[in-house]
């Protein structure tokens, strides 16, 4: 082979000679200190030809045989240079900067390269491929499949990866066979350590099953295995063609170096999935946390942005990825917050109210029966009417308890109900907050009794109206005026394809600057508000396929309007 040992270093000191065939139109390739153009393919290190939408890169000016690199013409020329260059560039970096990280990369390339540029580029491609796919790999159990799908491991039939998260008692083993698919299982640490050490001690990483207990390994036949030690994980990658022929030295080399070379990609994937799991457990913690929490995402965000982006390209990519992930998580978090808090509020209150309902219902029922029993006695009218009062009030208590527990029922139901009844029941429930404030309900365009029957989720609608009325009451109270001079007006208009509800009050209104974000969680005008009420309303209305908005009012006060589609 042409560039062995010292030649490689020599090569690093000169620039790559590139020949561009006539088919490569335009002058998109520019010469740099590292790249010069040769006039003849014979004197060049690489020649680039265009074939439809692809650039094909051949070595030494030849266009016979397989190209060493194929990239789309859309690929930035810098990327192509980088791919062609990385060999010499990394070696030169290795010589100049004795930085640990670089040393790791360069040394793995030195090993991997072993004078074979073709396999070197294969490895680079493999890494680029894995890096590209890593955004799609959400679950670490998908890694074996992606490895088998790569060009480099085209001929292999099965792959197994065992991942030990340091400190965890069980090891996830993911086995993918191109004909069987994915199989997951868990193996104990002792088995894993035994395998890991066996692989670690082996020089050529080539095994057959007689060397390793067959039950521990999913792969069939002769296989290659490589151990990778990461910051928080130990990994074993096992790959097989499902046959018993030993692979060539080149293949063994390729496997060893490519796995070492992509270990940082594995690192990223594993850390991302670890982060994801952490986020999930935070989410479930939040969902079950019985008190409202305040989250301020800004400081974290700024920290992510002020990160030093000046180091190498790969660091940049990983920070970009991390930042992107962060923003994604943040966005989805925002979107889920209302859901989480609604769920939290409903489940906690639902549970409390359910207990209260059953604990109160029994004695109330006893009271009711006792009073009914007394009414059967032949007594004077005065006594009988007093007992009747007891009975009627027992019924009232029961209705209130039932309605309250209905308000916090967590059910996604769609049923026909009378909107007027639900509205009146709901207003009854706001009584403690709304007493002394005059309330008015107007129905427009409801002609027959049938018009009042709508198909939707009565619990949610009741929750929305309950929230809006409570908000109005609190706004009015915050202004400190005489309550009886204020009012809350609830208007329901039946339109052709939707029903419009509006709740308006004579309170101080919502400041203009908050109006755009008032439906977002944690935005509040109240001194002690959680800022969740309206975001929960908006979330529920979305689920009901309706819309909610704040209407600008010239004078003081707030009008919240929401619509619901009429469902036949």
């Amino acid at each position: 082979m042409e560039n062995q040992g010292h030649t490689r270093i020599k090569k690093a000191q000169r620039s790559i000679k590139l020949y561009l065939s006539d088919s490569v139109r335009g002058s998109i390739f520019k010469s740099t200190p590292l790249v010069e153009f040769s006039k003849s393919p014979l004197n060049s290190d690489f020649s680039i030809h265009q074939n439809d939408d692809l650039y094909e890169v051949f070595t030494g000016g030849t266009i016979v045989g397989d190209p060493v690199l194929i990239v789309s013409t859309a690929t930035n020329y810098q990327t192509i240079y980088k791919l062609l260059n990385s060999n010499s560039k990394l070696i030169s970096e290795f010589r100049t900067k004795r930085n640990k990280k670089k040393l790791f990369k360069a040394s793995s390339i030195l090993k991997s390269n072993s004078s074979n540029l073709k396999s070197f580029i294969d490895i680079l491609e493999f890494k680029a491929y894995l890096q590209n796919q890593s955004s799609k790999i959400f679950d670490t159990s998908d890694i074996p499949e992606y490895i088998l799908k790569s060009k480099l491991y085209k001929g292999y039939k099965s792959c197994q990866i065992m991942i030990h998260e340091k400190g965890s008692p069980l090891i996830g083993a993911y086995y993918f066979d191109s004909s069987v698919g994915l199989r997951k299982n868990e193996i104990p640490v002792t088995t894993f350590s035994k395998l890991f050490n066996l692989v670690k001690k082996s020089k050529n990483k080539l095994f057959n099953q007689s060397q390793i207990l067959e039950s521990d390994i999913g792969v069939v036949g002769t296989f290659l295995a490589k151990e990778i030690e990461l910051k928080k994980h130990s990994i074993l990658v096992i790959i097989s063609r499902n046959d018993f022929l030993p692979p060539s030295d080149i293949e063994i080399n390729l496997f060893n170096s490519s796995m070492t070379f992509v270990s940082d990609v594995f690192q990223n994937i594993l850390l991302t999935s670890l982060e994801k799991r952490k986020t999930e457990s935070y989410m479930s913690f939040l969902a079950n946390y019985p008190f409202p929490l305040f989250l301020d995402e800004t400081p974290l965000n700024e920290a992510a942005r002020s990160f030093d982006l000046s180091s190498t390209d790969e660091d940049e990519i990983s920070i970009e990825v991390a930042e992107k992930k962060f923003i994604e998580i943040n966005d989805s978090f925002k979107k889920n917050t209302s859901d989480i808090y609604h769920h939290q509020r409903v489940s906690l209150l639902g549970e409390l109210l359910n207990t209260l309902k059953h604990e109160l219902s029994n004695p109330l029922f006893g009271l009711k029966m006792a009073s009914d029993l007394l009414q059967l006695e032949e007594v004077d009218e005065d006594f009988s009417s007093t007992v009747n009062d007891i009975s009627i009030n027992c019924n009232r208590c029961q209705t209130i308890i039932d309605n309250f527990s209905k308000l916090y029922r967590e059910e996604n139901i769609n049923e026909i109900f009378n909107i007027s009844d639900v509205l009146n029941e709901t207003i009854l429930l706001t009584k403690s907050e709304s007493k002394q404030i005059p309330k008015q309900i107007n129905f427009y365009n409801f002609q027959s009794d049938e018009d009042y029957l709508i198909k939707s989720n009565p619990t949610w609608i009741s929750q929305i109206i309950f929230n809006l009325i409570i908000n109005s009451c609190q706004a009015i109270k915050s202004a400190g005026q005489e309550l009886s001079k204020n009012n809350i007006e609830i208007t329901i208009i039946k339109k052709l394809e939707e029903i419009e509800f509006s709740v308006s009050d004579s309170g101080p209104g919502i400041p203009k600057k908050l109006r755009d974000q008032i439906f977002e969680p944690f935005v509040t005008t109240k001194e002690k508000g959680t800022g969740l009420g309206l975001s929960i309303c908006s979330n529920l209305i979305n689920k009901l396929n309706g819309k909610i908005e704040i209407i600008d009012k010239d004078e003081i006060g707030t009008v919240v309007v929401f619509t619901l589609p009429i469902d036949d």
């Binding site: 029994n362 029922f365 006893g366 009711k368 006792a370 009914d372």
Partner: protein, 122 residues
């Protein structure tokens, strides 16, 4: 007047007492029981025409009482004798009660007169 021997198993004493009186007014002979264990003893030692049983008792459930009663009654008898009262009328509970062939009344009763009729039906 209805001449029936009824056992009321209910741990809410006011309900138990009221129900006893209401049924007695209709002419029935009523015995009461506040706990499941006491109820089982009575069921195994006395013959009742009707057993009105609350589902959620302090010690055991009404279904446990029915299971114990299988020592004395056939499945057909159980469907005729037992009437279940419950404040938790979930579909699962209704289904289970149906599997014994028992009638179920949700508490509180919508109409006490109708409930009494169910208890006193022969």
């Amino acid at each position: 007047m209805i001449n029936m021997n009824i056992l009321v198993i209910e741990d809410e004493l006011l309900i138990q007492k009221s129900l006893k009186k209401l049924l007695e007014k209709k002419g029935a002979t009523v015995e009461v029981s506040s706990s499941g264990k006491e109820a089982i003893e009575k069921i195994l030692s006395t013959n009742f025409d009707r057993i009105v049983c609350d589902l959620m008792l302090q010690d055991i459930t009404g279904f446990d009482i029915i299971e114990e009663s299988k020592k004395k009654y056939t499945i057909e008898d159980i469907g005729n004798i037992f009437v279940i009262m419950t404040a938790y009328s979930s579909p699962q509970i209704l289904e289970k009660a149906n599997s014994y062939g028992c009638k179920v009344l949700g508490k509180p009763f919508d109409n006490i007169e109708e409930a009494l009729e169910v208890f006193l039906r022969k």
